[in-house]
């Protein structure tokens, strides 16, 4: 049972959050100039990192804010959680 630190609300039980997957997948500026492979890469291909991984979470049963979490996907230890506007954040990306 993860204990996630919402940057707005503080530590809350996992059940208050919903998951948004890998962070930093930026929507291409001009999709029309991409090849099918490049577009498919944006759409579907994922790092699926085993180890420290930056991901998106939403405090969906709380403040409804999206934020970023650095988490080890093997131990599930959360190393950091922070807002999108932090200067070092991979501050973009949806799906």
């Amino acid at each position: 049972m993860l204990l996630i630190n919402c940057p707005w609300c503080g530590e809350r039980d996992e059940t208050e959050f919903s998951y948004g997957g890998e962070a930093g997948i930026v929507r291409p500026e001009n999709p029309e100039i991409l090849s099918d492979e490049e577009w498919g890469d944006y759409l579907f291909m994922r790092k699926n990192t085993k180890g420290v991984f930056t991901e998106q979470w939403n405090h969906s049963s709380g403040c409804r804010q999206w934020f970023l979490v650095k988490r080890d996907t093997v131990t599930y230890k959360i190393i950091d959680s922070y807002k999108f506007d932090r200067s070092d954040s991979e501050n973009k990306g949806s799906k």
Binding site: M45, N48, T73
Partner: protein, 417 residues
């Protein structure tokens, strides 16, 4: 077969105090090179090796396993076998597998205890029932046994189920595949391992792949904890870790690895003679021959390689089981565990060549790979041997994620209007 199993052999060996049994699992040390290397000693990998040797005459094969054979998802699933999928592409692949299951114990001379006790997929809403009708009518035209049953028929066959119309998610009906069922998970891995090694396949355990060797877009072999092993054909069959292995060859895959949890009750007298699955309330349940209720939950939402998940997932699954089987409230959970499933965007596997010559992929089975074990091995062996997919797995290419030809088995799970 060198060491045939039968009732007679049990009796004969009893008289010699069981001293003459030959190894079922032969531990091999790696040779310098092989005609083909299968990475991953789970059910799918071992089946691939077996069919490569049996159907395609390739004998110089290694199966390389990081831990112990059958120790990944083969050992961790709820063992449901069925083929009543929605799309023709998927149902034909799973049906091939089901047909192989039906003869498997005798084909590999190892009792995998394939028990064709039927699988019910419950429908709880009008849209569920439309989807069931669509799936069953398609299955039948594809030559797959399937039928639609109503709530009374379900109650008659499954007396402990709650078909009350006042349930939160009342059961309106179900699809039933009578030829579907469950099998003994460990036996599948061991049986394929034994049959494959009888055909000369080297099964190398405790051997972790650390790198994939390639040059000029051609595979040359693998680096492992037991040294370099050469081959110009390498098949990756590592459920849960496909992305990790593919990354060694600089490939990204359309996969996310999630924890999938399951649990068993203490052994009970026979109380459930079939398999019941419900997508809407999210629980799968059957009773093992030992009497344990074997129950599968949904996946945990986050990426996780820890072979563990969160208790809230178990809790929710328990609530789902209470919804379907309120009588089981006083039954007790004995043990829970987790596996790692690699989930693809269309809930269908990837059984495919890759952009790298000689590198082949078999992954993305999500929560449903066990049922496909023999079929997956059969078509993947074909793909490796011929450097071309069999027509059954041609639709399951990696390429479909750029062309858009997905086979969306999430089906019409959407709820609208």
């Amino acid at each position: 077969m060198k060491n045939k199993y039968s009732a007679l052999s049990l009796i004969k060996n009893a008289f010699t105090n069981n001293k003459n049994w030959k190894p079922a699992i032969k531990n091999a040390e790696p040779k310098k090179s092989y005609d083909a290397i299968i990475v991953g000693g789970g059910g799918h990998g071992l089946a691939t090796a077996f069919y490569l040797a049996k159907n395609h005459g390739i004998k110089n094969i290694a199966v390389v396993e990081k831990g112990w054979i059958g120790g990944g998802n083969t050992a961790r699933n709820t063992t449901i076998v069925r083929s009543n999928y929605l799309w023709t592409e998927a149902s034909l692949l799973y049906e091939k597998s089901l047909k192989l299951w039906e003869g498997l114990s005798r084909e590999i001379n190892f009792n995998v205890m394939f028990s064709q006790r039927g699988v019910y997929n419950l429908g709880h809403t009008l849209q569920d029932m439309r989807d069931i009708e669509r799936r069953v009518s398609a299955n039948r035209l594809n030559g797959i046994d399937a039928e639609v049953v109503n709530a009374e028929q379900i109650k008659k066959e499954i007396p402990y189920i709650n078909t009350s119309s006042s349930a939160r998610y009342p059961i309106l009906g179900a699809s039933l595949q009578k030829r579907a069922g469950v099998a003994r998970h460990d036996a599948v891995a061991w049986g394929f391992a034994r049959a494959a090694s009888d055909l000369g396949v080297d099964i190398i355990q405790q051997c972790e792949v650390t790198d994939i060797i390639k040059s000029n877009n051609q595979i040359h072999g693998i680096e492992t904890s037991k040294g370099r092993i050469e081959s110009n054909k390498v098949g990756l069959v590592v459920a849960g870790h496909a992305s990790v292995l593919a990354a060694m060859a600089n490939l990204r895959l359309p996969l996310e690895s999630h924890p999938l949890q399951a649990y068993v009750s203490e052994p009970l007298k026979p109380v459930l003679d079939t398999v019941v699955m419900s997508n809407a309330v999210h629980g799968y349940i059957s009773q093992s021959d030992k009497g344990e209720l074997v129950i599968g939950a949904g996946i945990d939402p986050y990426i996780g390689y820890g072979q563990k998940g969160s208790f809230c997932t178990i809790e929710h699954c328990m609530q789902a089981i209470m919804e379907l089987f309120p009588y089981f409230s006083r039954v007790r959970m004995l043990r829970q565990w987790g596996g790692i499933v690699d989930v693809s965007p269309d809930a269908c596997p990837i059984i495919s060549k890759t952009p790298i010559n000689g590198l082949y992929l078999n992954c993305g089975w999500g929560t449903g790979g066990f049922k496909a074990t023999p079929g997956s091995g059969w078509v993947f062996a074909h793909t490796l041997a011929n450097d071309e997919p069999h027509q059954l797995n041609a639709p399951f290419s990696l390429e479909r994620f750029s062309t858009g030809a997905l086979i969306d088995e999430h089906g019409a799970a959407a709820v609208a209007h």
